[in-house]
Structures are given as structure tokens and as C-alpha cells.
């Protein structure tokens, strides 16, 4: 580690210029990892042997400098700065045996891995794009043969067409909820209408479950919806003064009857 410090101190003018270029160019970076990768290049070593501590200091220096120049840094750059500061302290302080978390060395190794992986993928991408490409270096048949003996019409569509069609439907202005959702739900309005028609006959205390529409008592989902709607409707009728409501104890049946004086 002491070696790293020395290296840092003898950073040549070129490196300093490079760092200034980084500041000017901050928009050109694709996030903190990209920046760290670029900074790591100034160490001019194999990414496997990189000094994460030195890298952390370079990065923190970069952020400090950006602040001094009043360059606004995106939040993720600052999050990375905070994390690297934490990492730096972990690397410098002797490990606390009581601490359960990962060690500084583990964290550093992972960061080095991420950088190496990103660099490797960049290189792979460059190699891929350097390959001979169809339509540029080699070519398919220019006149696919059209033997018009058998003409069969078939239809095609791409997955993208399919998804876009769906997206178009789901974002139309006159968005409608799915009928599937609707036909399993009894609305309060429906329950109220139903109760109004029946309440005239309810002289005695009756369990509200008796008022569920026919066929809604079996399926739990239907029953749940119908119960809730019917209960809400009874409350509305109570508020109007049309009926009385009572419940003996928690979870006991809820009963209603027509108001006597009504």
C-alpha cells in the first residue's frame, strides 16, 4: 500500500492533465463505473493488479475537484464517492473482529472484478463489431428466387408488432378496465338497488348474508365482493334512516331490519 502512495505522489504532469480533461468531460462518462475504469487506466497496470485504494483516492479527488469547479455531479457519482470513502476506511483500518460484514479486501476485490468485467465486455464488443458483417462485408442472395408455381399467402408479424399492438391498446385514452375484473365484482350501487327492492319485507332482524344475490355465495372471490358491497349498501340505508343494523359481538352475524316507524 505504501507503494501505491508513492506512485500517487509521482503522478506526472500528463496524468494531471488527464484528470483535468476528465472534469471537463464529465458528461462523456457513462456513470461512475465507466469513470473508475478510465481512472484505473492511469495506473497503467493489469486490472487484476490494480490498487483499489489508490483508485478510490483518485475518484474522491475527482469528485472533490468537480465540487470545487462547481460542476454538478449526478447522484450516482456521489453515491459511489460515499461508498468508496467507506471502502477506503475499511482498507486502511485494521479489521474489527466483531464486524460481521464483508472485509475491505473482499469489497475491493469485487470492485476490481467489476472493472475488469466491464473492460472485458468493452473489448468483446469491439471485437464483435470488428467482425465481417452481413450487408457490409459479405452478402446474402440478392434475388431470392421467385418461382411462381405455388402461391400460398401466409401472414406474419414480429414479436415487436405484437408487443406494440398491446402497448397501444393499453395506453389508449379511453382506457377501460378489463371485463374479467368487472364481472367478478358487485358494485355498491348494484347492491343498494337490490336492497331497496327487498327491504320492504324485512320486518324481522335478518342476517345481511341472506341478501347476497343468487349465485354469489359460492366462489370466495364473488362472495367477498358481494358481502362488501352489500354491507356498504346497508350502511348507506342506515344513514338514510331506512333500516337499523346490529351486530351482537365481533365477527357475529350482521343483522338488519326495516325501521319500525318508517
Amino acid at each position: 500500500m505504501s507503494e501505491d502512495f508513492q506512485e500517487d505522489r509521482v503522478a506526472p504532469v500528463a496524468a494531471r492533465l488527464a484528470e483535468e480533461a476528465l472534469i471537463v468531460d464529465v458528461d462523456g462518462f457513462e456513470g461512475p463505473l465507466d469513470l473508475l475504469l478510465t481512472l484505473s487506466r492511469t495506473q497503467k497496470v493489469d486490472l487484476r493488479k490494480i490498487s483499489v485504494l489508490q483508485l478510490a483516492e483518485q475518484y474522491l479527488g475527482f469528485v472533490e475537484q468537480a465540487r470545487r469547479l462547481r460542476i454538478e455531479l449526478a447522484a450516482d457519482y456521489l453515491v459511489m464517492a460515499a461508498w468508496l470513502a467507506f471502502l477506503k476506511s475499511r482498507l486502511l483500518l485494521p479489521p474489527d473482529p466483531a464486524d460481521e460484514g464483508p472485509s475491505g479486501d473482499e469489497l475491493a476485490a469485487h470492485l476490481a472484478f467489476q472493472l475488469e468485467r466491464l473492460a472485458a465486455m468493452r473489448e468483446a464488443a469491439a471485437k464483435l463489431m470488428a467482425r465481417d458483417q452481413k450487408g457490409r462485408d459479405f452478402f446474402p442472395r440478392g434475388i431470392p428466387e421467385d418461382v411462381t408455381r405455388v402461391r400460398r399467402v401466409t401472414y406474419t408479424a414480429s414479436l415487436l408488432d405484437l408487443m406494440q399492438a398491446y402497448a397501444r391498446l393499453r395506453t389508449r385514452d379511453e382506457f377501460r378496465p378489463l371485463v374479467m375484473d368487472r364481472d367478478r365484482i358487485l358494485t355498491m350501487e348494484q347492491a343498494l338497488e337490490r336492497l331497496r327492492g327487498m327491504i320492504g319485507f324485512a320486518g324481522e332482524w335478518t342476517d345481511i348474508m341472506c341478501y347476497l344475490p343468487e349465485g354469489w355465495g359460492g366462489d370466495p372471490a364473488l362472495r367477498r365482493s358481494a358481502t362488501a358491497a352489500t354491507f356498504a349498501a346497508t350502511l348507506e340505508l342506515v344513514r338514510e334512516g331506512a333500516i337499523e343494523i346490529r351486530q351482537g359481538e365481533t365477527f357475529a352475524p350482521i343483522q338488519i331490519r326495516k325501521r319500525g316507524d318508517g
Binding site: V147, R170, L178
Partner: protein
């Protein structure tokens, strides 16, 4: 041959490529070109000093009796499969057309909401679904009838088929991206529809889970 070699130095500072190489060039150009190519155009496209006519003669001889022939079309040249093998070309004659918007939307709804009834499709699309659209999708074998819905009228439902998955390169209907993913991929306007807040999205996702969890989708994959 001898003649050609004497000509070359006068024509160009560079030597023309060997005739065998010119033959390769003519072969590649004729293969890739979308139209028959004239000798003049071949000469214009090949390196200076090349003799396309001579190369064409070699190439023609080479393809003699092969599955592919060199043919003259007016003043130009093209490659064509041998006429006696025309019967192998049936597959190439299939005319491929894009699905209509109505059909693709109907298909999308079936894929995302299966099993789904005709009434539900109409509810989502907001217009009635013509018989021809469903018939077309059935004929393409991209959809088939699912179980009848246990609701009044016991309407038939539609589900997508193996052939559908195959055509769209999906391993299962479950692999269709959900609304959130469509949105993330930029396929969906990120602005929620007017009047619909965030719960809408949750609801939809729920509906989707429901439907993929249920019998419909699972049945298809087996």
C-alpha cells in the same frame, strides 16, 4: 491469355487480378446483386483492367450441370437455380403479408389475457371483432379454442398455440414482457392514461399473474 498480359501494362499501373480471381469477383457480384448485371457494369465494378466477359465464360463453364446456372437476361447476366430443380423451390413462393392491425391487436390480447372470450376482446379493443379476424388467426394456427367459460352462455375462450410461441420465438406465453417491462423498454408511453393512477398498473399486473397462474397458459405449454 498472352494477349491480355501484353495489354495490361498499358491500361493501368496496377496489374489486373488473375483471371481466377476475377471469376470469383463476378461470382460474388452476380450472387449478391438484386438485378441482372451487364458486362459493362461488371467491368466498372471490378478492378481496373479486369475482363468480365472472360471471367463470365469461365464461371458459366464452372456452373455447367450444377444446381445453379449462369443465365443471360437481355444484355445482362444473372444466376438462377437449374430449371429441373424448380420443384424444390415451392417454399420460396409463399407470399408473406403483414397481419392487419385488427388481427395483431386481437392476437396480442389473446396472448396476454388468455383464456379470453370474444366479448372480452371486444371490451379491451373497444370495437367488435370481425369473424374473419378470429378465423384468420385460427387458420394460421396461432390461436385455438380453450375451455368454455363457466359464466352465463358458457362462451368459448381463445388461447395461443405452440405454433404461436414458435413463430414469435417465445419459450412460453409467460415470457411475454409485462406492461412494466414494455414501459421500461420504451415500448409503452410512460405517462399513465388519463384518469388512471398507479393502482391501474398493479391491477393489470395482478390480472396477468392471475391469468398465467391459471389453467390457460399452463395448458398450452405442456
Amino acid at each position: 491469355m498472352a494477349e491480355e498480359h501484353e495489354q495490361e501494362p498499358r491500361e493501368s499501373l496496377f496489374e489486373a487480378p488473375p483471371l481466377a480471381e476475377q471469376e470469383r469477383m463476378v461470382e460474388a457480384i452476380l450472387f449478391a446483386s438484386a438485378e441482372p448485371v451487364s458486362v459493362a457494369e461488371l467491368n466498372a465494378r471490378m478492378p481496373h483492367g479486369a475482363d468480365a466477359a472472360a471471367a463470365l465464360e469461365l464461371l458459366r463453364a464452372r456452373y455447367e450441370g450444377r444446381g445453379v446456372r449462369l443465365v443471360k437476361v437481355g444484355e445482362a447476366w444473372a444466376m438462377r437455380t437449374a430449371p429441373d430443380l424448380g420443384f424444390l423451390m415451392q417454399k420460396e413462393t409463399v407470399e408473406v403479408r403483414k397481419l392487419s392491425r385488427a388481427a395483431i391487436e386481437t392476437l396480442a390480447i389473446i396472448a396476454y389475457h388468455q383464456p379470453v372470450t370474444r366479448a372480452e376482446i371486444e371490451e379491451i379493443r373497444g370495437v367488435s371483432v370481425s369473424r374473419g379476424t378470429i378465423d384468420q388467426l385460427l387458420e394460421l394456427e396461432w390461436i385455438r379454442f380453450g375451455r368454455r367459460r363457466m359464466t352465463p352462455g358458457r362462451p368459448v375462450t381463445f388461447v395461443v398455440t405452440e405454433a404461436f410461441l414458435d413463430h414469435f420465438g417465445l419459450e412460453s406465453a409467460r415470457d411475454l414482457p409485462g406492461l412494466k417491462e414494455l414501459r421500461a423498454a420504451g415500448l409503452l408511453d410512460s405517462r399513465p392514461p388519463p384518469g388512471a393512477g398507479t393502482p391501474e398498473e398493479g391491477e393489470e399486473d395482478g390480472a396477468q399473474d392471475d391469468m398465467f397462474g391459471g389453467e390457460g397458459a399452463g395448458e398450452d405449454e405442456s
